[in-house]
């Protein structure tokens, strides 16, 4: 019977490769579980279909009986962040899901009559007189000339037109407005900084490959808080211990989905086996790219990234830092062997300097 270890795989002796950093295909097995352990599960949060309803936040708070707090994590305080519709503010001890709201705009040049394609303005002026259905047919040749597929795209019944209809975008005067909404959550990293640095073993890797705090073990040392490269885990000040998303460990053991994924009305939050989610995400990214959404990118999907790939990963429509995510997070323990070596050198230096002082002259 192997022992479940809360230490990094580096020190369980199971894995000679990628012990602190890099891809780790069977992170659950590396933690000491028998080979018949359940598949690693995760979240795929597709922010392109998030509507910012915060059902995930509410479901999470309800299920996990999390206390109320304001945007800065102050317990039992009701406060508006004053910056957007986001009054949750951040992930913390009392908010394990956080829907980010980013309102963006860009200038659009309103098409003016008389400027543009030489042939088109006449038509524009003609239709400006308030024509009815005939207008469409009158313009058809022009569009057909411009592009054979244009007509198809004007039909709302057209699948492609529907799929590129974007509820997150609107136009106001000379601006286009879009809202980026993204439900952030603990990433359940392959190489989890919090798990690596926990001195009590309170944080451990579950049989599902997730990372969970045992609240009867945690002694509130707080080391995991600054160790997380995403700033997820936090201490509940009046309680002393740390708390974070458990991916509803209690629900998983009963064969249920996590509360947030269950509550999500748009399937922005998808729960499932990690490899299946990754395939789904790759397909979704390909679809969006094909539709011209060039800024879509997966975040936390790459198993070669700084945390060995995340158990909860995202499809984003802008740079990660726009959503408050670090663009290139690296598990802090990657550099720990080098730090230990330098510390050993420094300790030897101290002893050497202190003792060599006794060698010289008496005074």
């Amino acid at each position: 019977m192997s022992q479940i270890s809360s230490a990094s795989p580096a020190f369980t002796g199971n894995d000679p490769e990628n012990r602190l950093f890099g891809p780790l295909p069977d992170v659950t097995g590396e933690a000491g579980y028998e080979p018949d352990h359940p598949a690693r599960v995760g979240f795929f949060t597709d922010t392109s279909v998030c509507i910012g309803c915060k059902a995930c936040e509410v479901a999470c708070k309800e299920w996990n009986t999390l206390p109320m707090d304001d945007a800065d994590g102050n317990r039992d305080a009701l406060g508006l962040s004053g910056m957007s519709y986001d009054n949750t503010g951040m992930l913390g001890a009392n908010s394990w899901r956080h829907v980010a709201f980013v309102e963006q705009s860009r200038e659009v040049d309103l098409p003016m009559p008389g400027i543009g394609l030489p042939a088109a303005p006449g038509q524009g002026a003609g239709s400006g007189g308030g024509c009815g259905g005939s207008c469409g047919s009158a313009e058809t040749p022009s569009h057909a000339k411009a592009d054979g597929v244009t007509i198809d795209q004007h039909s709302v019944l057209n699948a492609q037109a529907l799929s590129s209809f974007d509820p997150q975008m609107a136009q106001s005067a000379d601006r286009e407005i879009r809202w980026l909404m993204s439900s952030d959550v603990c990433k359940h990293c392959t190489h989890a900084g919090c798990l690596d640095v926990c001195p009590t073993g309170a944080l451990f890797r579950t049989e599902f490959g997730t990372v969970v705090v045992q609240d009867d073990i945690c002694n509130g040392c707080g080391y995991c808080v600054p160790a997380c490269p995403y700033g997820v885990i936090d201490q509940r000040k009046d309680d002393g211990r740390v708390f974070k998303c458990t991916m509803c460990y209690d629900r998983l053991t009963d064969g249920l989905q996590p509360a947030c994924a269950t509550a999500c009305p748009t399937q922005s939050i998808q729960f499932g086996d990690l490899d299946e989610l990754q395939a789904r995400a790759d397909a979704r990214l390909a679809t969006l790219t094909e539709q011209g959404v060039t800024t879509a990118r997966l975040y936390g999907r790459d198993t070669d990234d700084g945390v060995g790939g995340a158990g909860a990963f995202f499809l984003l429509l802008d740079e990660p830092e726009v959503y408050g995510l670090p663009p290139d997070p690296v598990v802090t323990t990657r550099d720990l062997p080098s730090m230990w070596r330098h510390a050993a050198g420094a300790a030897a230096m101290l002893v050497g300097v202190a003792l060599s002082g006794f060698l010289g002259r008496r005074r």
């Binding site: 910056m83 860009r106 975008m169 640095v197 509130g220 060039t294 330098h342 101290l350």
Partner: protein, 428 residues
């Protein structure tokens, strides 16, 4: 898809952010009058959305390949109504791109990075001040004093040994106190010893601090008890054991064995976090901390010891001060933007005073350390320098965690360097 119509772009101001708009915008631009009603009858179905139909097919981004630091996401900017801008100005002074250009202009005021409303990305350490900086200082001073105490014990310097044992023991016991007080659940401090994890500097530190504080505290207790008149006179076995040189020497050797690690591990404790200004200089901080520990331990011991026995403490203090200053210089200058918090704000002020104290103390110890008043003054200066260095380093890290730029900019630079390395022709 969007590229097909690039040459047809009928919109004026082609150089602006909508350059290369979607096909339908390009095709419809002439007919889409400022009055949105105009275009709606054409395609009644899309009119149901209540929006100009050119939006319907517009992809989220019209400019392929223009994502990056300079022009992220096709010219999208955080919507910046005046109130939003004011709010942000209140929240974050300087730094960030938001102070600059209006939206739609990707270049003006595009300082350096983006963030989510200027909010911090990594969490700040929840460690209490002054508990933890004091712990860093006391642990360091105790660690180097323990080594000095063992050296003095075996070279016939009883006065130095006595002072060093007391400093080491007092520092070690106080350290344990501060560390336990800092826990969120102090009654569970023994949970620190239920596992051993080399990946956790705090776990390793617990296994350094426990034997160290036991041995150093024991040596100090034996030293103190041995000078109690009743113990000195008594002939019982217990007082004899307390007076025995062997036991005290054993304790002092034990403490000395853990003294170096005790002073060094706290640097790794800070460095092994995602806090930018602690993590980046992670290979230099151990030398800052051990140098600082030597300066503090040596300084305190030389200040409290008769000068004829204090020479080893003096030498250790001077060398330690030099190491501290040199290593700190690297921390403050070798890490680009992440070194900035060491220069500005409260941390910068503390570290400037710390440097002055340490340098003055080292010079004083060299020049007038042979005289009692000189030793006392320069020893106090060295200890003050060490204490302020710990507070300064702690503060700098806390400041770096609060500003997202210290997270985003180094990571962006790292990504850019990686991309550049990939583009470079592979070397055989």
């Amino acid at each position: 898809m969007s590229g097909r119509h690039a040459e047809e772009s009928a919109t004026p101001g082609g150089g602006s952010t909508v350059e290369g708009t979607g096909p339908d915008r390009a095709a419809q631009a002439p007919v889409a009058q400022p009055d949105p009603e105009v275009s709606q009858p054409r395609t009644p179905e899309t009119g149901r959305t209540g929006r100009p139909n050119e939006d319907v097919d517009a992809p989220l981004d019209h400019r392929p390949g223009v994502s990056g630091v300079a022009t992220p996401g096709g010219g999208w900017r955080k919507a910046d109504g005046p109130s939003a801008q004011k709010r942000e100005g209140r929240k974050r002074k300087g730094g960030g791109r938001r102070g600059g250009g209006r939206d739609g202009d990707p270049t003006v005021g595009d300082a350096d990075f983006q963030s989510y409303y200027g909010r911090q990305i990594v969490k700040s350490a929840v460690w209490k001040t002054p508990d933890v900086p004091l712990y860093l200082f006391l642990g360091g001073a105790a660690g180097s004093s323990a080594v000095l105490g063992a050296g003095a014990e075996f070279t016939g310097r009883p006065a130095l040994a006595r002072v060093a044992h007391l400093v080491a023991g007092g520092g070690a016991v106080a350290s344990v106190g501060f560390l336990i007080h800092d826990l969120g659940r102090p009654e569970r401090f023994l949970h620190m010893l239920r596992v051993f994890k080399p990946t956790s500097p705090l776990s390793v530190g617990s296994y350094i601090l426990s034997p160290f504080s036991t041995a150093a505290g024991g040596a100090a207790a034996l030293t103190l008890l041995g000078s109690v008149p009743a113990v000195r006179r008594s002939r019982g076995w217990l007082p004899r054991l307390v007076r025995s040189t062997g036991l005290r020497r054993t304790a002092s050797v034990g403490a000395a064995a853990f003294g170096g690690p005790m002073a060094a591990y706290t640097a790794v404790l800070l460095a092994n976090t995602a806090t930018p200004s602690w993590h980046e200089p992670g290979n230099q901080l151990p030398f800052v901390f051990t140098g600082s520990a030597l300066a503090a331990g040596g300084g305190i011991c030389m200040a409290l010891t008769p000068v004829d026995q204090a020479a080893p403490a003096r030498r250790a203090a001077v060398v330690g001060a030099a190491v501290e200053l040199a290593a700190m210089h690297k921390v403050e200058h070798d890490h680009g933007v992440v070194s900035e918090p060491f220069h500005i704000g409260r941390a910068g002020k503390l570290l400037r005073i710390a440097k002055a104290c340490t340098a003055a103390g080292a010079v004083g110890a060299t020049v007038v350390g042979g005289r009692r008043w000189g030793a006392a003054a320069s020893g106090a200066l060295l200890a003050a320098g060490s204490l302020l260095t710990r507070f300064g380093v702690f503060d700098a890290g806390m400041a770096s965690s609060k500003d997202p730029k210290y997270v985003v900019i180094p990571q962006r630079e790292r990504m850019a360097a990686r991309a550049a390395a990939q583009e470079a022709p592979p070397t055989p």
